[in-house]
């Protein structure tokens, strides 16, 4: 089943011709409208008209997340604010988020790609989609929502949290499709069990899970416990949001990246040079239809591989493998992106000194947990318990306010956190993404 069969099954040659045409127009657009790109291209000594083949893409400079931070809030927009109809953002290092803007056409394209993604997962008009991705600045909720409406399915805008209510609604409303993070789905399964509700009695048929890394064994567990078919979806707000790539129900073997809108490359993160087909490397994406904030060769930092082998489902778009890690130190905690440096700067704000801290990420009852250990030195120490408790609570609150992540602060004795070669290890990730 397809949502847009012509485009989803476009023969490779026609697809590449379309990609080249769209790439050219994107490069022209950013050169004309975005000073950052004009400077970057001038510096690289390349002009838009020199892009003559898809291979010429490699002559273009990379775009990094830092470039987006430096352009806060709107400097990378390639459309006039008049034409921007939606703004989303993800959390940033010093409290400043990474901002993305969408034109009407961007929203239409995003809705279509999400609708395509739903169909690829086996969802159709008539389905009742229980959307438990967070609504708000995060792209997950609204992205899936618009796609569901575009498809003509019934969407329940649940957003996250309030698990008991989620289960009640899923049961009473007869939801057939669940969209949320994979770990939250397992959490719901356990909560349902406690309520004495068996997922086998629900109408759920398909689950579309993303926004955090997961694994084949987790898929098996989810499919057993929730009695549905679990599909992996990929997206990131910088590029669009959810629906950049998705598995097909037929093969469940790699995620089709919508190549008529995104140009994927897999590179060696150290050298920046493309790796061979099937080899692991960092995913780099160039958007070729976006108007609001087109990105050239954006370094996603996600590690995957790509294959152009034909797929059982008939889609001609390349497939990327399940994400197997990051080429930077970003953590994904309950679907929220967290960099250790963000927590470091929050601690610095509070303490006024460079803190010794350690982040311990774990998964308990299928939910990610974050513990922030902070060494108590003489400057922080007080002989009064309440002062230290207030300190811990203040840190917890600041992290929650700025990063939208709930954490537990544990005050520890000095030198508890191991230092190696003068530089401390900052993260212990005990989650097993098997």
């Amino acid at each position: 089943m397809f949502y847009n069969e012509d485009f989803e099954t476009l023969p490779r040659q026609a697809l590449e011709a379309l990609q080249l045409k769209r790439l050219k127009s994107t490069v022209e657009r950013v050169y004309l409208h975005v000073p950052f790109y004009r400077q970057a291209l001038d510096k690289a000594g390349i002009r838009p008209e020199q892009i003559k083949t898809l291979e010429d893409l490699q002559k273009l400079p990379f775009t990094y997340k830092q470039d987006m931070r430096d352009s806060y809030p709107y400097a990378l927009f390639a459309a006039r604010m008049d034409d921007i109809v939606r703004i989303h953002a993800s959390s940033g290092t010093t409290g400043k988020p990474t901002v993305v803007g969408y034109t009407r056409k961007d929203i239409d394209n995003w809705s279509e790609l999400m609708a395509r993604s739903f169909v690829s997962a086996g969802v159709h008009k008539g389905d009742i989609i229980h959307n438990a991705y967070g609504y708000g600045l995060f792209t997950g909720g609204l992205g899936a929502h618009y796609g569901a409406e575009q498809l003509g399915a019934s969407v329940i805008p649940m957003s996250g949290g309030n698990t008991k209510k989620q289960i009640m609604i899923m049961k009473d409303f007869g939801s057939t499709v669940l969209t949320c993070t994979p770990s939250y789905s397992l959490y719901m399964a356990e909560a349902a069990q406690e309520e004495g509700i068996d997922f086998k009695t629900l109408n759920l048929r398909v689950g579309i899970f993303g926004a955090e890394p997961w694994s084949e064994s987790m898929r098996k567990e989810i499919e057993e416990k929730l009695n549905l078919s679990a599909i992996d979806i990929y997206g990131l707000s910088e590029i669009m949001g959810p629906g950049v790539a998705i598995e097909c129900l037929e093969a469940k073997s790699g995620l089709h990246i919508w190549e008529d809108h995104f140009l994927p490359e897999i590179i060696n993160p150290e050298t920046g040079i493309p790796v061979a087909e099937g080899e692991k490397g960092e995913l780099v994406i160039t958007t070729i239809t976006k108007e609001g904030i087109p990105l050239i060769r954006y370094r996603t930092r996600d590690i995957t591989s790509i294959t152009y082998e034909p797929c059982a489902c008939g889609r001609t778009h390349a497939r990327i493998a399940r994400m197997s890690g990051r080429s930077d130190d970003m953590l994904i905690i309950r679907g929220v992106n967290v960099f250790p440096s963000q927590i470091e700067s929050i601690l610095m704000e509070i303490e006024g000194v460079e803190p010794h801290y350690l982040l311990i990420v774990d998964r308990k009852d299928n939910l990610d947990t974050l513990e922030v250990q902070v060494e108590v030195d003489e400057q922080l120490f007080s002989d009064e318990v309440k002062h230290l408790q207030v300190l811990a609570l203040t840190i917890e609150k600041e992290i929650k306010d700025l990063l939208s992540v709930t954490c537990k602060v544990r005050l520890v004795e000095p030198k508890t956190i191991t230092r190696s070669e003068g530089k401390a290890k900052r993260v212990v990730d005990r989650r097993e993404i098997r």
Binding site: D383, V385, R410, V412
Partner: protein, 143 residues
């Protein structure tokens, strides 16, 4: 009239208190009084010792976070109502007690109560004026 207390940060895990006792014992430090405030994660050990400087130094050398805190020691007769008199007076004077602990003198008939006030100077002045027996630090250290 102030007494110097040593405060030590300890994580709430087994063996930490024993470690501190061992370090102080090996350094020949005599503990006069102590109290431990604890939460589920950490504790604060408060000590009155005979040799504050050495105690602080050896604990710091072993990696503990140590601070010195000024507290007030008051001697009261070791009989019912001894503590109540002081607390009632402090309440009248609106003097806030952050925390306190007490011990009974070795062979005397008195108890010593150690107070941590938020306004130490004002508390001492009021207590002395009222005739309470506020102890000198030196006396306590050598008690």
């Amino acid at each position: 009239m102030k007494v110097e207390q040593i405060s030590v940060f300890i994580e709430n895990k087994s063996g930490r208190l024993a470690e501190i006792a061992r370090i102080l014992g090996e350094a020949g430090i005599n503990i006069r009084a102590l109290s431990l405030a604890d939460t589920s994660d950490f504790g604060i050990l408060r000590l009155i010792v005979n040799d504050r400087e050495t105690a602080k130094q050896v604990l710091k050398e072993k990696g503990f976070t140590v601070s010195k805190t000024e507290v007030v020691a008051i001697e009261v007769p070791d009989r019912p109502g001894g503590l109540s008199n002081i607390l009632q007076f402090l309440d009248q004077e609106n003097i806030n007690v952050e925390y306190m602990y007490a011990f009974v003198e070795r062979c005397g008939e008195n108890a010593v109560i150690i107070f941590r006030f938020d306004e130490t100077e004002r508390a001492i002045k009021a207590l002395v004026e009222k005739g309470f027996n506020v102890l000198e630090g030196e006396r306590l250290y050598q008690m």
